[in-house]
C-alpha cells in the first residue's frame, strides 16, 4: 500500500516540479531506474518473507542506482556496452523477485483459504 502511495506521490511531484534531466544523462538515468525498480521489488519480497531490513534496502537502492549509472557511463567512455550487464542482472533479478513474490502471495492465499474451510 505505502509503496503505491509513495510512487503516486513521486509521480505527482515529478509532474509538478518539472525537473529536466539533460539529454546526455538520460541513458544512465534509465539504467539507474532499472536498479531502483529492482530494489523496490526486493523490498516487497523481503517484506513478504519477513526478513526486510530498512538500512540494507536504502543502501541497496542508492548504491545499485549509482553503480549502474556509473557503469553505464564508464562503458560509454570505453566503448564497451557495460550497461548491458546492468540491464541483464537487474532485469533477471526483477523477474526472480517477482516470481518469489507471486509464489509467496499465492501460498498465503491458499493457506488462509484452507484455514477457512477447517
Amino acid at each position: 500500500m505505502y509503496i503505491i502511495f509513495g510512487l503516486l506521490a513521486g509521480v505527482i511531484l515529478g509532474l509538478v516540479l518539472k525537473v529536466n534531466i539533460p539529454d546526455q544523462f538520460s541513458s544512465y538515468v534509465s539504467v539507474a531506474i532499472l536498479a531502483c525498480i529492482d530494489s523496490v521489488f526486493g523490498a516487497v519480497r523481503g517484506n513478504l518473507y519477513k526478513n526486510f531490513q530498512a538500512d540494507i534496502f536504502i543502501s541497496g537502492f542508492f548504491g545499485n542506482a549509482i553503480l549502474a549509472a556509473a557503469l553505464a557511463y564508464l562503458g560509454d567512455k570505453l566503448g564497451v556496452p557495460i550497461y548491458l550487464a546492468a540491464v541483464l542482472v537487474f532485469g533477471g533479478r526483477i523477474f526472480d523477485n517477482f516470481a518469489n513474490i507471486r509464489r509467496k502471495l499465492i501460498e498465503n492465499y491458499k493457506n488462509s483459504k484452507s484455514k477457512d474451510v477447517i
Binding site: 509521480v11 515529478g14 525537473v19 523496490v40 526486510f52
Partner: protein
C-alpha cells in the same frame, strides 16, 4: 517503531523512484516531440526548395532558348557567323550543355538487401563502383553519360560523402537505393565492354548489375554554367 521506520523509508524511496521515472518519461516524450516537429519543418522546406529549383531551372531554359534565338538571328546575316554558330553548338555538345539522345545502354545497379528487406551495410554502392563503371563506359566510347539523370561532364567529380554519393559537388545519389547509369554510344561496344568487365570484376556480393541496350536514350544537359577561375589560355 522499527516497522514504522521501515515503512517511511520505503515510501521515501518510492517517492524518489516515481519522481525519477516521471521526469525521465517526460524528457523522452519531449525529445520525440522536438524530433517530430523538426521533421515536418524539413519536409515543408524541402518542398519549397524543390519548387524554387524547378522555377529556376525553367528560367534557365527560357534564357537559353532566347540566347539560341539571338545566335540564330545574328548568324542569318552572314555565312561566316553561321559557321561559328555551328562550331559553338558542337562545343556545347562536347561539354554536355545540350540535351542529347541516341542509342546506348542503361546500367542498373540494385543493392543487395539484408534480412527483412533492410539494406545491409555491405549492400551499399560505393563511389568507386560508379567511377569504375563510368570509366569503363567512357573507354568503350560512350559520348554522353548520366548517373540517376545527373549529367556527367568532363569536370564531374564523384565521391562518398556521409550517407550519400555526391556528384558534381552538389547533387546526391542515395547509395542504398538503385542507381541508374545511362550511356549513349555504340551499344554493342558498350555492352561488350561491360560484359567483359562483369566477368573480370565481382560485384555480385554487393549489388546486382543489369545492362540493358536501348535504341533511344535521352540524357538531359548539364544545367549549370561553366567558369574557370584559375586556368587561362596560353597565348
Amino acid at each position: 517503531m522499527k516497522k514504522v521506520n521501515a515503512r517511511i523509508s520505503v515510501m521515501i524511496v518510492c517517492i524518489i523512484l516515481g519522481f525519477i521515472l516521471t521526469s525521465q518519461f517526460r524528457n523522452i516524450l519531449n525529445k520525440n516531440k522536438i524530433y517530430n516537429t523538426g521533421n515536418a519543418d524539413i519536409t515543408v522546406e524541402l518542398k519549397s526548395l524543390k519548387s524554387q529549383k524547378e522555377a529556376l531551372e525553367k528560367s534557365v531554359n527560357d534564357l537559353q532558348a532566347k540566347i539560341s534565338e539571338y545566335e540564330k538571328t545574328s548568324a542569318d546575316k552572314s555565312g561566316r557567323t553561321d559557321q561559328m554558330l555551328e562550331e559553338l553548338n558542337n562545343t556545347r555538345l562536347l561539354i554536355g550543355q545540350t540535351d542529347v539522345k541516341g542509342q546506348g545502354v542503361i546500367v542498373t545497379l540494385i543493392p543487395k538487401t539484408g534480412l527483412l528487406g533492410a539494406p545491409s551495410e555491405e549492400g551499399r554502392i560505393n563511389d568507386r563502383d560508379i567511377v569504375i563503371l563510368l570509366n569503363e563506359l567512357r573507354f568503350a566510347g560512350a559520348e554522353a553519360l548520366a548517373v540517376n539523370d545527373i549529367r556527367i561532364t568532363a569536370y564531374s567529380g564523384i565521391r562518398n560523402s556521409g550517407n550519400y554519393i555526391m556528384v558534381n559537388n552538389d547533387e546526391r545519389i542515395l547509395p542504398m537505393k538503385k542507381v541508374e547509369i545511362k550511356a549513349i554510344g555504340k551499344k554493342e561496344d558498350l555492352q561488350a565492354s561491360l560484359d567483359l568487365f562483369q566477368q573480370a570484376t565481382d560485384f555480385t556480393g554487393i549489388f546486382e548489375m543489369k545492362v540493358e541496350p536501348s535504341d533511344e536514350i535521352s540524357i538531359k544537359r548539364y544545367i549549370k554554367p561553366y567558369s574557370f577561375q584559375y586556368a587561362k589560355t596560353v597565348k
